[in-house]
Amino acid sequence: MGHHLVLRVICKLLVPLILLFALYVQFHGDFGPGGGFQAGVLFGAGFILYGIVFGLGHFRSVVSPALLRTVAACGLLLYLLVGVAGMLLGGNYLDYSVLRENPASGQHLGIFLVELGVGLTVSGVMISLFYAFADRRFRE
C-alpha cells in the first residue's frame, strides 16, 4: 500500500468533501432532491473509498464493525420511536403533526428525525456490507 501516493493524497482530499456533501444531501432533502437514502449511500461511499485506499487494517481503527451494526440498528430504532412518540402524544402511529404545537413544524421535526434514521441505517448497512465482503478476502 506504500506506492499509491497520488491515490492516497487525492483520497484524503476527496473523503471530507464526500462526507460533507452527504450531510448536505441529508439535511437539504426538504428543499431539494435528496434525503436519507441518498445521503446514507454517499456517506457510506466516502468511508468505503477510505477503506479501499488505506487498507482494512487502517479502516478498522476508524470505524469498528460493531459500531456500524449499532448505528444501523439505531437508525431503524429512531424511525420506530418517532412513530411511537406520535402515538404517546395522542396521534396515530407515524403521525408527526402532534410532535409540536404547530402541526407544520411537527411535520418538519418528524421528517427530519425519520430521514436521519434512514440515513443512519443505510450508511451503517452499506459499510457493514463492504466490510463483510472485503474482510473475508483480508483474512484468507
Binding site: 444531501v25 432533502g29 426538504d30 428543499f31 431539494g32 432532491p33 435528496g34 434525503g35 437514502f37 441518498q38 449511500v41 454517499l42 457510506g44 461511499a45 468505503i48 479501499i52 478498522r60 469498528s64 464493525p65 460493531a66 451494526r69 444501523a72 440498528a73 437508525g75 431503524l76 424511525y79 420506530l80 412513530g83 407515524l94 408527526y96 402541526p103 407544520a104 413544524s105 411535520q107 418538519h108 418528524g110 421528517i111 425519520v114 430521514e115 434514521g117 434512514v118 441505517t121 443505510v122 451503517g124 448497512v125 452499506m126 457493514s128 456490507l129 463492504f130 466490510y131 463483510a132 465482503f133 472485503a134 474482510d135 473475508r136 478476502r137 483474512r139
Partner: protein, 177 residues
C-alpha cells in the same frame, strides 16, 4: 437515444465473458438509467439510482469479484430455451405497454388518485418545498419504514451468511492463543 444506449449496454453485458468488464458496464447501465430518470424529471430517483446502482452496487460486485475471480466459467449448452423464454417474456411486456397511458397524460390513473391532493395541500400541511420528501417521509411513512426495515434485514442477512466482520477475526485470534 438514451434507451438505445441502455439496450446496447445490456446486450454487451449478456455477451461478455469477462466479469470485470461486465461489472463496469453494469455501472454504466445504472448511470444511463439515472439519465433517463432525469429526463423524466424524477431527480430524486435518478440521484438514488446513480448513488446506489452505479456507486455502491459496483463496489460490492468488485469486492465479490476479488474473491471469486474475474472470468466466467462453466458455460453449459447454448441456451436456446432460456433465449426463447426471455424473448417471449419481452414480447409480452412490450405488448403490455400498449395499455399504458402516455407520458405526462393528465388523465392517467396515477394523476387522478391522491397525487393532486398531495401537490395542493402539502405546502400548507407539511410546509416543505420538496413534495417528494413530504410524500416519502410523511404521507407514505409506513412504506418508508418498510423499506428501511428491508435494508436492515438484508444487511443482517448478509452479515449472517458471510460471517460478521470482526467476529471471524476474533475467532482466529482465539485459535492463535
Amino acid at each position: 437515444m438514451l434507451l438505445l444506449f441502455i439496450v446496447v449496454v445490456a446486450i454487451a453485458i449478456a455477451v461478455l465473458r469477462n466479469l470485470f468488464a461486465a461489472v463496469m458496464l453494469f455501472g454504466i447501465f445504472s448511470f444511463l438509467a439515472a439519465a433517463v430518470f432525469v429526463s423524466l424529471d424524477a431527480v430524486d430517483v435518478a440521484f438514488t439510482e446513480a448513488a446506489v446502482g452505479a456507486g455502491i452496487a459496483t463496489i460490492l460486485m468488485l469486492a465479490t469479484l476479488a474473491r471469486v475471480g474475474g472470468h466466467e466459467r462453466g458455460v453449459h449448452g447454448h441456451g436456446l430455451f432460456p433465449l426463447a423464454i426471455a424473448f417471449f417474456t419481452g414480447l409480452a411486456l412490450i405488448h403490455a405497454t400498449s395499455d399504458f397511458p402516455l407520458v405526462g397524460d393528465p388523465s392517467a390513473p396515477a394523476h387522478g388518485h391522491v397525487a393532486p391532493r398531495y401537490l395542493k395541500e402539502s405546502g400548507s400541511e407539511i410546509g416543505i418545498p420538496n413534495v417528494v420528501t413530504s410524500v416519502l417521509a410523511s404521507y407514505r411513512g409506513y412504506d418508508t419504514l418498510g423499506e428501511v426495515t428491508v435494508i436492515f434485514a438484508a444487511g443482517v442477512g448478509v452479515l449472517c451468511l458471510l460471517g460478521a466482520a470482526g467476529a471471524g477475526a476474533r475467532r482466529e485470534d482465539k485459535k492463535k492463543e
